[in-house]
């Protein structure tokens, strides 16, 4: 098993030791839970409940708003307090269903499937769709859409993204250590859909215990293998992961399926198992509360909808003043305005840091050192792209492949002039893509 990786990338401080050794603790929330209707890419879900309704844990409270959408389930039993706009971790105000928990966690009946292998492909996908499974690593792309490529026979790799390359996060690690069988069974369910595919567990080599444990569990299965990867950020980026495992390259205009691959992360495969085998919709997830400002960093199995503040309190609160509170990891996570925001299907961590490198440093002149070029996993020249963004040069931005940026932040991380390169590039990318959308719409109107 040779070590594989991609070109570029950076090695930020890992910080995983803070939370990796403690087992996942179940956390039952009190009081109010908030369920934004948009926890996925695609159309928002449509609420099925109204103020005053009583709901059970596992009851559908919003239905999918289309094919590329996903239903939402209540993670507690209680009363609907209302539907109103609430701030989410990304800073947006989103219509949300507010449920006051009655503290009893009364469940609807979940129907387990005796023998998953007897299910048809259609049944499997519909169970995944119905359970509201989306990419739980952060993207939130509805999993049933991902699992329905145009040509299923051409898929030859199902890659379990076990890289967990974001520093500080350990939720995937804990799940792999504590319930590896569930992860493997989740993979087997996906493999059932694709007759020509092999399943690969792609794990960074900073998790040797996971590599060993999963290798042992799958050694008799010809279709499954473990691929150790070099620990490097952003090893878990979809394009980087596919390259490392298969040697195939995809760009921004392609889907993994174009390279014969489907990539799902650990939490998603676990959710697939819950949905198909146990009949449980997405109501829980594992969540890391960590950072040097947190009293007792650890992982929790949370009820989705629990507020960040409640999770921080469960971890003993802060021992030091936090200069920055982040939803997600330090490389791609979102800085929080406050902790009064709900967890969703795609939020994986709360990180509280006593130091904030991003605002501590002042931007100085670019010295053209090329560290951003070496760091960029997409082979771009971030310093130039940032200049084009600053000066509004859209054509040059595209010519230098600005739209290929995966927004991993490696360029900003390594910049000795402390320029927020990724921020510049992200801003310009949004503008260019919006322009393109407008132009496409205008062309459509003309026709």
């Amino acid at each position: 098993m040779s070590l594989r990786t991609f070109k570029g990338g950076v090695h930020p401080f890992e910080g995983k030791d803070l939370s990796k050794s403690k087992p996942v603790k179940d956390l039952l929330p009190k009081g109010e839970l908030v369920f934004p209707v948009s926890q996925h890419i695609g159309a928002p879900a449509k609420p099925l409940v109204a103020k005053g309704d009583t709901v059970l844990r596992g009851q559908k409270i919003a239905e999918a708003g289309g094919f590329v959408s996903s239903p939402i389930y209540s993670s507690v039993s209680g009363t609907v307090k209302g539907i109103e706009k609430r701030r989410t971790a990304t800073g947006d105000m989103v219509d949300s269903i507010i449920i006051e928990s009655d503290g009893n966690f009364m469940e609807v009946g979940f129907h387990e499937t005796e023998d998953v292998t007897k299910l048809s492909n259609k049944e499997i996908i519909s169970k995944i769709q119905e359970a509201g499974v989306v990419g739980m690593g952060g993207a939130g792309f509805p999993t049933h859409v991902k699992l329905s490529p145009k040509e299923p026979d051409k898929i030859d790799y199902i890659i379990a993204n076990c890289a967990e390359c974001e520093p500080y996060l350990t939720s995937d690690y804990r799940e792999m250590i504590e319930e590896p069988e569930k992860l493997i069974d989740g993979m087997k369910i996906v493999l059932q859909l694709f007759p020509n595919a092999k399943g690969v567990f792609a794990i960074e080599n900073n998790k040797p215990d996971c590599i060993e444990q999963i290798s042992n569990l799958i050694k008799d299965d010809e279709k499954l293998s473990v691929q150790p990867l070099l620990t490097k950020y952003p090893q878990g980026g979809e394009r980087q992961l596919i390259h490392a495992v298969t040697g195939r390259d995809i760009n921004s205009k392609m889907l993994p399926a174009d390279a014969g691959c489907i990539v799902d992360n650990v939490a998603t495969l676990m959710a697939i198992y819950d949905a198909v085998k146990l009949g449980i919709p997405v109501i829980n997830r594992v969540f890391t509360v960590t950072g040097d400002a947190v009293c007792e960093p650890r992982n929790f199995r949370i009820c989705i909808g629990t507020s960040y503040q409640e999770l921080l309190d469960a971890a003993g609160g802060l021992i030091h003043d936090a200069k920055k509170e982040i939803s997600g990891g330090p490389m791609m996570g979102f800085a929080l305005y406050g902790l009064d925001v709900p967890t969703t299907k795609t939020t994986s961590a709360l990180l509280c840091l006593t130091e904030d490198a991003a605002s501590e440093y002042e931007e100085t002149a670019c010295i053209n050192c090329g560290r951003c070029v070496d760091a960029c996993p997409e082979g771009l020249v971030p310093s130039r792209l940032a200049d084009y963004s600053k000066h509004g040069q859209k054509e040059e931005f595209e010519k230098w492949y600005g739209l290929e940026c995966v927004e991993c932040g490696s360029c900003s991380y390594g910049c000795p002039a402390r320029r927020p390169l990724a921020q510049y590039i992200k801003t310009m990318k949004k503008q260019v893509l919006a322009d393109k959308k407008k132009a496409a719409a205008a062309a459509k109107d003309k026709k």
Binding site: M331, Y337, N368, C369, L380, Y401, Q423
Partner: protein, 327 residues
């Protein structure tokens, strides 16, 4: 409730929220450290006068930047240490017999004319130290090429630098060349001291071999073909060790600001440097050619970058597929 309300609001910025340790100042400090072996050897080789020139040139450079920033109401940027690097590099490119005011004039020219007037650090298109050196070479040719205060200069070398001796068709002791016990500018004589510094820079991740490697290789090939001595190992080593080639290749051609940022552009730049240096040395009238080669190649950098925009990850594949589809 009141406690959380009283709490200061945390910072909100775009990701990433962490940064690597190295900043501009630290990188410049690495370069200064890497130049120390050559500096110390220069002082040891040429005596206390060399130290005087080094200190005064650096002081002039830093002071020029400080005063310029004050005059134009720019933020004082001397803390980034880049002016120290410029002053040190310029001093290492001066003969120890040069008058003190020459270094001071050069330092001020490097910082004010070559660097600040073009917009300061990161904006200058020409290496400041080399720009100043060439200015001094043209304006004060006599002072800049007077290496006569080297002990035993007349007896051992017949009044010329090794390269001039070579050009006159005589040979030079190779071992002395490599160690650096020869006349020349303060910092260029010891190949060993320079290479030790260069290895440090490579290990610290400050420079890569792309530019200096292709530069030296190209120049070696050029020497074998056009040097007039064929594959004469002795001559080749003398050409590589003599003159400012090593100092230029590792410390000045690699100047971030004035070299291409694209990896393939750096290779082209290195080749261009090798060819230019060869032309200047073998077909030009002066024995030296490194400084001119570098500042001349600096002018090509924007062009080289435009021609070498790296193809983004996964792009080639798409093009191939498109062609296949069209066919």
């Amino acid at each position: 409730m009141s406690e959380t309300e009283e709490k200061k609001m945390p910072n909100v910025t775009s990701s990433p929220h962490v940064r690597a340790k190295d900043d501009t100042q630290r990188i410049m400090a690495y370069v200064i450290i890497a130049l120390m072996p050559a500096t110390v050897f220069g002082v040891f080789n040429f005596g206390i006068r060399a130290l005087l020139i080094i200190v005064s040139t650096i002081a002039a450079s830093v002071l020029s930047e400080y005063i310029y920033c004050r005059i134009v109401h720019k933020k004082n940027t001397t803390r980034d240490l880049s002016a120290v690097v410029t002053g040190l590099l310029l001093a290492l490119n001066l003969p120890s017999s040069a008058p003190i005011w020459l270094g001071i004039l050069g330092g001020a020219f490097a910082i004010i004319i070559v660097k600040e007037l073009f917009g300061g650090l990161g904006q200058n298109f020409m290496n400041p130290a080399l720009g100043a050196r060439c200015f001094l070479l043209i304006s004060f040719a006599g002072l800049m090429t007077d290496f006569s205060d080297y002990p035993g200069f007349q007896d051992t070398f017949g009044g010329a630098t090794p390269l001039a001796t070579l050009k006159a068709g005589k040979s030079v002791d190779t071992m002395r060349l490599i160690l650096g016990n020869i006349p020349g500018t303060i910092g260029e004589t010891s190949m060993i001291a320079i290479v030790i510094g260069a290895i440090f820079l490579i290990l610290m991740g400050v420079i890569t071999l792309r530019i200096p490697g292709t530069y030296i290789l190209t120049f070696a090939v050029f020497t074998i073909i056009f040097g007039g001595h064929g594959f004469d190992m002795n001559f080749l080593v003398n050409e590589l060790a003599g003159g400012g080639l090593m100092l230029g290749a590792f410390f000045m051609a690699t100047d971030y600001v004035t070299s291409p940022i694209t990896p393939s552009g750096q290779i082209i730049y290195g080749i261009l440097l090798g060819v230019m240096t060869g032309i200047f040395r073998f077909f030009g009238s002066s024995a030296e050619g490194v400084s001119y080669a570098i500042i001349f190649s600096n002018l090509f950098v924007p062009l080289i970058e435009k021609a070498t925009i790296p193809r983004a990850f996964g792009i080639r594949r798409e093009k191939k597929e498109k062609k296949a589809k069209e066919a």
